[in-house]
Symmetry: none
Subunit: 412 residues, 2 copies
Amino acid sequence: MNAEIIAVGSELLTPQRLDTNSLFLTQQLNDLGVEVTTKYVVGDNRDHVADTVRRAMSRAEIVILSGGLGPTEDDVTRDAVSIATDRKLVFHAEIADQLEQRFRQANRKMAEVNRRQAFIIEGADILPNDRGTAPGQWIDDSQTSIILLPGPPHELKAMFSRQCLPRLERVVPRQVIRTLLFRITGMAESDLDQTIAPVYTKYANPVTTILAGDGDLQVHLRAHGSNESDVMALLTEVAGPIETLLGDRIYSRNGDSLEAVIGTALKKRQATLVVAESVTGGHLAQRITSVPGSSQYFLGGFLTYSNRLKTDLLGVSEEILQTHGAVSQEAAEAMAVGARRRTGATFAISVTGEAGPEPAENVPVGTVYIGLADASGCQVAHRVFFGDRPRIRVFATQMALDLLRRKCTLVL
Amino acid sequence: MNAEIIAVGSELLTPQRLDTNSLFLTQQLNDLGVEVTTKYVVGDNRDHVADTVRRAMSRAEIVILSGGLGPTEDDVTRDAVSIATDRKLVFHAEIADQLEQRFRQANRKMAEVNRRQAFIIEGADILPNDRGTAPGQWIDDSQTSIILLPGPPHELKAMFSRQCLPRLERVVPRQVIRTLLFRITGMAESDLDQTIAPVYTKYANPVTTILAGDGDLQVHLRAHGSNESDVMALLTEVAGPIETLLGDRIYSRNGDSLEAVIGTALKKRQATLVVAESVTGGHLAQRITSVPGSSQYFLGGFLTYSNRLKTDLLGVSEEILQTHGAVSQEAAEAMAVGARRRTGATFAISVTGEAGPEPAENVPVGTVYIGLADASGCQVAHRVFFGDRPRIRVFATQMALDLLRRKCTLVL
């Protein structure tokens, strides 16, 4: 079954505001096995809203509108749905009375405009609103259920959960839905897709989605079926070959972030970590310490943005800086080794590079060297990222974390 | 003139993701005097997208699509617009060659699927993408301009600003629109609103908007009119009293971030800066170094997440740590003074605190001390923030930056 969601309100078409009700509604609908196929944001224009409702009705079995049920002239949802469904609006005196009573209890006089909220579309079921003044409405119109909900999130959520969900559960064909998630790093989105497309494109169920951002990739598999064991069998059938193809580029199967995976591994090893950051300027440490409890393994480190501090704090020799430059394999190694020596940590990771905007040090913008030192020595990895300054910095942290992940999640 | 915006991507129909590109686009269009009347989010379904494009074309003079231009089978925007406009897709060998060259420069082999990105709709103008692989496209189809932009925000923003805006400016009927922006910190959103509402609520033009996030506030004034001097007079009439009311809580009038304002002030003074971070774990330095050219004044610093490194690297005495604790005025002072002494920087700023989730050190979660040392001594500021771990950490960096801003932007 498919749903479309229409958010009504001109304020949601300004540069400052987003419709977030649809995220809640999507989660609830997906959990029932209903897909959301289109979302709309429409201003407070009766004809635009009516036109959008008509379109959604022609495409989906469930159409949910949020907002535009208030008392002012800008609140056009009732009128618009009345036009789209060709049903009259009927005044319900008992709703007006309840509203009036509500205002009286709050020691306020009800403004006349509030009576607008007592108009109900012919044949609609009234959804009482115990958190606000505007009642919701539910209309079954031939093939489509049209649900009108108030815009304020706490009103919408309560009304949907208590009144709409139980009713939808009776309508939507029962099915079991299960998801699997792989988190992956160290490859481009297009490479990931090319690698696993031969597997997943053979299946419409599970649905496979690839998400990418900042060098971090996710593969979501979502399967549905009539019983748990069928659904799990479907998921395994697709997930198995994907796991084999991706191997250790998968860093998480439970949703954990890269920094959390590293934290778990370091705690298990009772190992400690320090950093020596140049180009990333604190970003690497910030990600590491974003994990609650990271003080158990993260000691701290050095921000050696200037050459002088590379020498003073980490003992990177003048000779290295002059011969090879601060952005070099030699500098990355000296930084990591120096940081480890001065703190006694199990692992030290260093990042040096050039994020631009201006090239410097005779290396192209995007050049990054990562050093990883432990008791066995120091390895250095090198990459040239393209993109702007923020992108280069975040890719450098991702690469550093992944290098550490591969080292510290090795079986002891 | 009206615009409709279509975000393409099934991932934007999941409970986890929102289309935020439309906020940027709306801002840019509004600044030209173009209203956004409907926004859509449509999944990776060619026919749905084509159908939506057709509808938008029948309603608006400008239709902007974002996303779905990538190399994979899921990327349906090119095909969909080709169907909606009844125009062929034409392969451009020179685009494929450029792509291949780009991959080669990054020492990678281009996956074959990337050639999909070289298909251009017949009659479209190509919008080169210097931040990614997918070129944009611009089609003038009878009454409507259809603009295809890549989904990644940094690619979309650059392409729209540099290539689409100048072109739209020639098409959109001229009216004068001017905006003023104040950036403010050190007060709550509700306090800000209560302070300035008596001024701005008297005016429908300019429109006043307050935005808040992470302890950082913005007041936007947007005025329109037929000529420059009228519009500027309107803006000044409202901005003047607002400036008086807010005083030095305004840190920027040109949009510059707090970290950029600090950078400008430090360069002017030829001063240098180091940090000593505990609770913020690198976040403060990351913000400072996000400013291009920050290496001119930022030397680096110390990440002293553990007590041992506070002692070893900064010389915070065992006595302070035992008597007062690592989260104390005394520790913040010793950290800042120690960091300054060991580096010779003009200013040293320290952050120590407890971000939770578990309380520790006998201080409530949210406790933060900031130390700011210079030649004249060290001042320490103290706050207890409420909220979760990420919120406490970002508010701590904001407070540290503002303390430094107030110090280093003082007239010499």
